[in-house]
Amino acid sequence: MASVELHDVVKRFGQTVAVNHVNLKIEDGEFLILLGPSGCGKTTSLRSIAGLEDVDEGQILIDGEVVNNKRPADRDMAFCFQQYALYPHLTAFENIAFPLRTQNMNHNEVNQRVREVGKLLKIEDIFPRKPKKLSAGDQQRVALARAMVRQPKVYLMDEPLSNLDAQVRVDMRAELRRLQINNRITTVYVTHDQVEAMAMADRIAIMDKGVLQQVGTPDDVYVSPANLFVANFIGSPSMNFIPCNYDAASHGVRIPVNGETILYRLPVNVKQSISDIQDGTELILGIRPEDVYIHTEPVDDGFDCQLVLMEALGSENIHHLQRGNLHFVSRTSPADVYPVGQSVWVTLETEGIRLFDRKTEAAI
């Protein structure tokens, strides 16, 4: 068990900066997920921690000790690869035993350790088979077992579930999380799937274009996104963004819609936090789909728009609303059904309103 720290880490590939001055501390026993779109530098960060990539600047510390010059083998970490990288010439059993074979461990102990982890992951019956003869789910379990058979300081996992079928993925997600909660080994997990990240992580670190955007608990990043990128990336369907200008006189925002302007008065709690903003400042109002309420009758503080489409997903209904060039989405319980193609009135949950600076894209 160990903590992992990245101090101002930079990694370049030629002209491209894959990891750009990243600072991050992963606490002892924590499950941290590196989340971001493909090419955001999350895998490179993970590989740098592993020692599979040499960093160009900055330091990587394990338990406070700088490990930049340590070989991967000496860092005592286990890595779970996206493509599993199971040794094709070895059986499942030998694959799992492989990390133990270099540790001067006697034969019986190796056997015992492999059987234990096999029992835990319920893969004892596939021990004699070679990787080629295994299903993706079983391969994944063997890869996991190979990582878990040692008690490394840190688990590093690079999208381990991305090659699995949806159902197996959901099962494995829970299983993996349960195992980590039990053994409390520090884990850094890379994924581009925000649902996976929300479901599993103690904390999520969101990256984009090599830059760390926000680090926080799933709740933090969902409720208080630090910028537009995070707000957009987390949540499905993603947050509604409405371009607007600050109106100092009414403590509200002016939303331009096809030439006319809707004046939307901001609730009291939002007003206080933005008291120093000048009139006319270009903003973006962000609101989660579940914080958009639909009414069939005119209401105070509401504005009218067309309900253009409804997607009934079983567990929820997604309503697509439009007014001129303004398009946004409301999520309701499946019981709420409104007439498609008709005018409806919309109000926003005051607690859910987030404002972003349109120029810097940062949250206000």
């Binding site: 599979l52 083998a73 990288a85 040794y87 270099t102």
Partner: protein, 281 residues
């Protein structure tokens, strides 16, 4: 309609295969029957297809007409020693070189690979005179180590290129996995990469072995007595009645059989080795 066509295709394919087989196997057949014929049967025109076989020529492989030893056993032993050693070294160094070229960043890698390939571009005869002079002044002429050195060098270009294509096919992730599992780079190569390239090693070894086994030109010029292999030795079996074709054929037959058996045994890995990388997964 479709069925008919596929049947026709099958017949055509078989016909083609049989024709090819006849072309390739005919020399072997002719070699064998020549070894079993008497001198007059060999030179008779039209050629004789039916005759009473004789084993007289096989006795001639080991002894001359006057009963002295032909030294065939010694030449055969030399062929085995020189071919095996140079195959071993060319596969060993070839695999190591190919692995580094495949995995590490090396400045001028492409030029280096071209240079290695270019060692195979000159015909043997073109290098003979300089090699002959060099070998004489270095006292390498007619020595086993001199021939092993030469054949190793000669085969290395081939084994490096062949092994490189094999290593290129093995994803680097396996080595990374081994590194993470606590192994050194060298251990990862030995325990993870090599076991996966057994077919490549086998194929390279077979080709090297056959090339050494059959090599004639260098052997004929650079050896006289102590490191002479079978191919140059057999070519000088000229008796007082001219070329002794029957004995030459019998010697060649005995020389070909081990390679035939060996190739037949490893044909599966040979085939895989030849087509490796041709089809992407």
């Amino acid at each position: 309609m479709h069925r008919k066509k596929s049947r026709l295709n099958r017949i055509l394919a078989w016909a083609g295969l049989i024709i090819l087989l006849l072309i390739f196997l005919f020399p072997l057949y002719w070699l064998t029957v020549t070894a079993l014929k008497t001198r007059s049967q060999i030179v008779s025109i039209p050629p004789m297809f039916f005759f009473t076989p004789t084993l007289e020529n096989f006795r001639g492989v080991f002894f001359t007409d006057s009963g002295t030893d032909t030294n065939f056993k010694f030449f055969f032993k030399m062929s085995i020693i020189i071919s095996t050693l140079s195959t071993f070294f060319s596969v060993l160094f070839g695999a190591l070189a190919a692995y580094s070229v495949s995995r590490f960043k090396i400045r001028g890698k492409d030029d280096l690979m071209f240079f290695i390939l270019s060692t195979r571009m000159l015909p043997a005869v073109a290098t003979l005179v300089p090699l002959f002079l060099m070998y004489r002044s270095l006292r390498l002429s007619d020595t086993v180590h001199g021939m092993v050195l030469l054949y190793t060098m000669f085969n290395l270009g081939f084994t490096v290129w062949m092994m490189k294509s094999f290593f290129d096919e093995i994803p680097f992730e396996y080595e990374e996995a081994a590194l993470m599992d606590g192994y050194s780079r060298w251990e990862a190569f030995i325990k993870v990469v090599l076991p996966q390239s057994v077919t490549g090693l086998a194929a390279s070894a077979v080709f090297s072995l056959i090339a050494c086994w059959n090599e004639f030109v260098y052997g004929a010029i650079l050896t006289t007595r102590y490191a002479r292999t079978v191919p140059p030795a057999v070519s000088v079996r000229v008796g007082h009645e001219g070329y002794e074709w029957g004995k030459i054929a019998a010697t060649a037959f005995m020389y070909v059989v081990p390679v035939l058996i060996f190739t037949f045994l490893v044909r599966k890995s040979l085939l895989r080795g030849l087509t490796f990388g041709a089809i992407k997964k």
